[in-house]
Amino acid sequence: MKQFIAICESFGSALCMLGRSARYINTLPRQFPRFIEQCYMIGYSTMPIVTILCFFIGSAIAQQSGYSMENLGAKQFIGALVGLSMVRELGPVMVAILVAGRVGSAITAELASMKVYQEVDALVTMDIPPERILVLPRLAAVLVMMPVLTVIANLCGWYGGALVCQYTKSISVNSAAYFAMLKHYMTTRDVSDGLLKAEVFGFVVITICCHIGLNTRGGPREIGASLTKAIVTSLIFILVLDYFINDILI
């Protein structure tokens, strides 16, 4: 019961943090340098790892589905399968997981260390709300960068799959046929659903990481504990939300 109350309290406190951040939304134009800095951190620095991982995820799906679908005589549909899997599911989920691991952890560590070393208290005493300069630019940046990263992830996954289909002897589906299938079965709705999921995941991950970082109590040891908590909570939320969003969208 105590744990349930603690979870409810954390949830409420995260919502309050979001509410306070929203109050300062009109200050975003003059926080443009901070916003760009966060876009760089969330987008540009995560891009290489997203590119590599999603390329190989697309390749692996093509490989596995090529093996299974050959027995069913349906290997010409690999393009559609890889394309839809990347756009609707793996692209947004993988990007969210990578953002949680690569950026979320860095944000939690930075904010937790600012909290432990009283930099956040210093902001409060200077009448500078931490939500305004520490949370809001990060939330705005993630909303801008998540669709960009997801589109890159999808493209890399598609091309990874296409290469495997073209050059694996047991599959031997040429790129033109692969992309023709992909184009035939993919709708704008699939892409927009995937991007919507990515936006929700990114927003939730950054909210969780900022909230846990800003609520770190105790000494430097707690920074590590907060980091673990933020990553684990983010991953749980990504996968649970994934199911429920799918339920709504499909």
Binding site: E119, A122, T125
Partner: protein
């Protein structure tokens, strides 16, 4: 809206602090119990006490970082626990470890407050920051990162950052802790000089007997979460209270060491 900055004099309007029957409990542990005292506008008030006696918690109540379990803290006519008070009273807090923003240069640390509160254009802000740096002889440190500074310099930068706010009330948490005697004396001189220079009310939480008794207008001693005594420094030099005498002039007694008594207390 841009507000033109005039380098000197700093704002002269000071405020006092009234702490009335303040009690603070964390879970079932009472950290402050019925604490009452008053700090008059423009004075230097030193709050002394042993480690763990509740000094920093009391200071956090004045800044509004903690809310009382019961009782009240007022800054001038405003309730300290009300967040709106920070917008009405310019209150600066010099943290024990400085709490400088490690990702910013010294200059940017000082410029953050005027920039965020839009106190003039960049030229006005520069003038304000350079003035604060010059008061503390820190001009050459402007482009350094906090990690490159010594402990004493970090304290001075923290004080300079407080000065940029043109505070009506300046709070110091252990400003001389972990500093050598020369640096402690330097910080003490700075605190005293600032009072003359900018006519600010200063509340200093300290263990440093020489600081408190040399520059304070009034001193309070807090022990076990309660105010033990309040008075002018002279009262403490002549006190007959054995606990205060022991705190201010601890004698080294190797025959009856204190840590043995602490062990007995724990048992």
């Amino acid at each position: 809206m841009s507000t033109a900055y005039t380098a000197t004099p700093f704002l002269r309007q000071t405020v006092g602090i009234t702490v009335a029957h303040l009690t603070k409990k964390f879970d079932n542990v009472t950290v402050l119990s019925d604490v009452s005292f008053e700090v008059r506008p423009g004075e230097i008030f030193c709050l002394m006490g042993p480690s763990g006696s509740g000094k920093t918690v009391l200071l956090k109540h004045i800044v509004g970082l903690e809310t009382p379990t019961s009782g009240q803290v007022r800054i001038g006519e405003f309730d300290a626990s009300d967040h709106a008070t920070r917008a009405k009273v310019r209150l600066a807090f010099v943290f024990q470890a400085g709490a400088l923003f490690n990702s910013m240069t010294v200059y940017d640390n000082l410029a953050l407050y005027p920039r965020e509160h839009r106190l003039g254009d960049e030229k006005d802000i520069r003038e304000r920051v350079v003035h604060a740096l010059s008061i503390l002889s820190l001009e050459k440190a402007a482009d350094k990162m906090p990690a490159e500074l010594s402990g004493g310099m970090k304290r001075r930068v923290a004080i300079a950052r407080a000065l940029v706010m043109e505070p009506q009330l300046l709070l110091y948490d252990e400003p001389t802790a972990e500093l050598d005697p020369i640096l402690s004396a330097t910080i003490t001189e700075i605190i005293a000089t600032l009072r003359e220079h900018i006519a600010v009310t200063s509340l200093v939480v300290t263990h440093d007997r020489s600081l408190a008794l040399s520059i304070a207008d009034h001193v309070a001693i807090i022990m076990d979460g309660r105010i033990r005594a309040v008075g002018v420094p002279e009262d403490f030099r002549r006190t007959t209270d054995p606990a205060i005498i022991d705190f201010l002039n601890p004698l080294i007694d190797l025959k009856h060491p204190r840590f043995k008594q602490l062990e007995n207390d724990h048992e």
